[in-house]
Each structure stands twice: as C-alpha cells, then as structure tokens.
Amino acid sequence: MAVERAPGGTSLIDVLDRVLDKGIVIDAWVRISLVGIDLITIEARVVVASIDTYLKYAEAVGLTPAVSRPALTPGAAEPLEDETRRRTNVDVERG
C-alpha cells in the first residue's frame, strides 16, 4: 500500500494539533497597552477548560456577572494585580 499525501486541512485532529497552541501565541489574560489603549487578551483556545479557566472565560463573554470587580482606571492598573483580582472574583463566584 503506497502512502498518499493528504492536504493539510482535511483532518480535524491534525488541524487542532497545530492551531491551538502552536505558531504565534499570545498569552492570555494579561492586560496590555497599545498606543495607550488598554487591551486584554482572551483565551479563546480552551477546549477542555479547568473550572477556573472556564469561569474566567465565561466572565469574558459576559455569561457571568463580574462581581465586585475593581473599577479600572485606564492606564493605572497593574497587570499582575489585575490578574490576581480577576482570580479572586472567580473564587468569590464559585464559593
């Protein structure tokens, strides 16, 4: 049996194997500032998410209310702090 080459995008597994975490990957959930605009990355690549990730993800798309989230002053919040606060919020919601 001769082996035949199949084009790239025919098998879902082969595609997923590549596109989910390879190539140019932008770290999720880190606040950034581009030309003074506050941006946030979104983890859109979660297939089997941990509960924590799922909740963050759900919050991002507006499925859960952001409980007691600190008001963010543009250009003022520290990235790490924001990340920590976010986690804290998730814990509150879960508990």
Binding site: M1, G8, I24, V30, L34, V35, I37, T41, V47
Partner: protein, 278 residues
C-alpha cells in the same frame, strides 16, 4: 485579543457591544501591497480576508464581531483554510487560533512591537513548508511476533502455559515487563530508521507526543518547497519498506506551525517578545 472596554461592565455598562466589530488575525506575511484573499473569513458571514500593513509586514485579517471563537470544526477549518490559501503565495507565520483585535491600529502596533522578531522568523521560514508524518503499528500483531521471535519471551510464555502447579504470578509479571521493554525497543528502532531515511531531505524535524497506543511516531518536518517532491519520494520509500508492519499518515503542506514558536507576553505599556525559530 479583545479590548477590556468591550467586555468590561465598568467601561461599557450595556451588553449592546456584543455587536462590536473587531479583526480576526490568521497569520503574518511579508507583503508591501494590499491583498485580498476572498470572502472566506471566520464566522460564516463571508467576510473578505485582507491585509493590514506595517513596514513590509502584513497581517492577514478579516472583520468579525467581537466574540470568543470556540475551536469548533467550522471555526478551526476556517482559520486553517485561510492560512493554506495565503500559503500558496506567501511564506506565512501562522497565528494560533482565536486572536482577535479591536482595530487595525492595534494590529499595526503589535507588528511594530514585534517587528524584529517577526522579520527574523520570516526570514528563517522563507520558502519552507511543514509536513506531518504519523506512524502507526498494530500493537497486538507486534506482540504476537515478539512472542514468536524473542527467545526469552517465548521461553517464559511456554513456562507459564505449561505450568500446572504453583502460582504463575511472578512469571506473568516478568513476561509483561519483557514485552513492554521489547515493544519500546522495537518502536525506537522503527523511529530511528524512519528518521534516518527522511533526515537529509528535511531542514528540521520535531517529534510530538504520539496520540493513542497505536501511534509510535508523530512528527513534523520542515521542508524547502523545492525539495517537496524529493521528500514525497522518501516518505513513499520508507512506507514501502515497512509495508505490512507500519502504516503512515502523511499530510501537508502545512503552514510551519511546529517550527514557528513565538510567545507574545504582552504587558501594559511595553511588549516583551520572545521568538525562537526551531
């Protein structure tokens, strides 16, 4: 990437901005002139796929509502189809699935911040594409063969089956270990042989974790486009050599996902970029 403003209740109290428009980014290429690749954007609306430029670099993008894309069949194929289309004419640095930006300015800013790294990796990927090669075997059949061919295993197996008194527990444990070791050795030997046939034609290779217990090799190879036919030939050669023993699943050309390793750690006010071309 999506802006905080779009998803933050503090910044936008209403949920009406679910309809806000952003840009989905598929890959980065080198192109000076604006290009259009057809109405094949992610999201099923038939959005035109076009380029956003910065100093000779271009991001291939399409308009999209700002939503989080789940990696469904439809969505990942849309992402991949665009990359494969662009790849026919350009060397691409593929983005991982799901990168959204709010505006073209943000994308330009990203290219500005990572310019040197992108240029460097693009130069390394110039004229190269990726091929996938998965090698499977029939594990049970290999075990049956080992039981025939491996003296030690055969002997122990005979002992176990012929013993009429006493426990065979330890003998069976020992047999299990022997078989396991022999399987690993056999798989390693096959993998080495397959690599040795293909190595000279490839620029680079990467071994990924095999999926499931039938797979013994899950590799990606970076190949110069002009040596594609030669690589095809080598794969066919090696497949013919192990016919009946190993089955090969050969795919490509792919964008060089396995060889473009760029993690962007974006922080407030400054972008730190780490880029390694492997």
């Amino acid at each position: 990437m999506i802006t905080e403003k779009q998803i933050s209740p503090e910044a936008e109290p209403s949920h009406a901005d679910a309809a806000a428009e952003g840009k989905y980014v598929y890959c980065i290429i080198e192109a000076a002139e604006p290009r259009s690749f057809g109405p094949m954007g992610i999201g099923g609306r038939g959005d035109e796929v076009y380029t956003v430029h910065h100093k000779g670099l271009a991001a291939v993008v399409s308009n999209t509502p700002i939503v989080v894309y789940d990696p469904t069949r439809e969505n990942v194929f849309a992402h991949e189809q665009v990359n494969e289309t662009v790849m026919r004419e350009f060397t691409v640095l593929p983005m991982a699935f799901g990168a959204l930006f709010r505006t073209e300015e943000d994308i330009i800013e990203l290219m500005r911040g990572t310019y040197d790294a992108l240029r460097d990796v693009l130069a390394k990927m110039e004229g190269k594409v990726e091929f996938g090669l998965k090698v499977n075997w029939d594990r049970d059949r290999v075990i049956a063969e080992l039981e025939q061919e491996n003296e030690e295993i055969r002997h122990l197996k005979e002992q176990i089956t012929s013993r009429t008194t006493g426990s065979t527990y330890f003998a069976r444990m020992q047999l299990g270990r022997l078989v396991e070791t022999a399987l690993t050795d056999q798989a390693d030997a096959y993998i080495r042989e397959v690599y040795s046939v293909l190595r000279d034609t490839a620029v680079a290779s990467r071994a990924n974790k095999p999926i499931g217990d039938r797979m013994i090799m899950n590799a990606a190879f970076l190949i110069e486009r002009e040596r594609e036919a030669e690589f095809d030939q080598k794969v066919k050669e090696v497949a013919a050599k192990y016919e009946g023993k190993l089955s090969f699943k050969y795919t490509g050309p792919w964008p060089p996902y396995n060889f473009v390793h760029i993690r962007l750690k974006l922080e407030r006010g400054e972008g730190t970029t780490e880029a390694i071309a492997r």
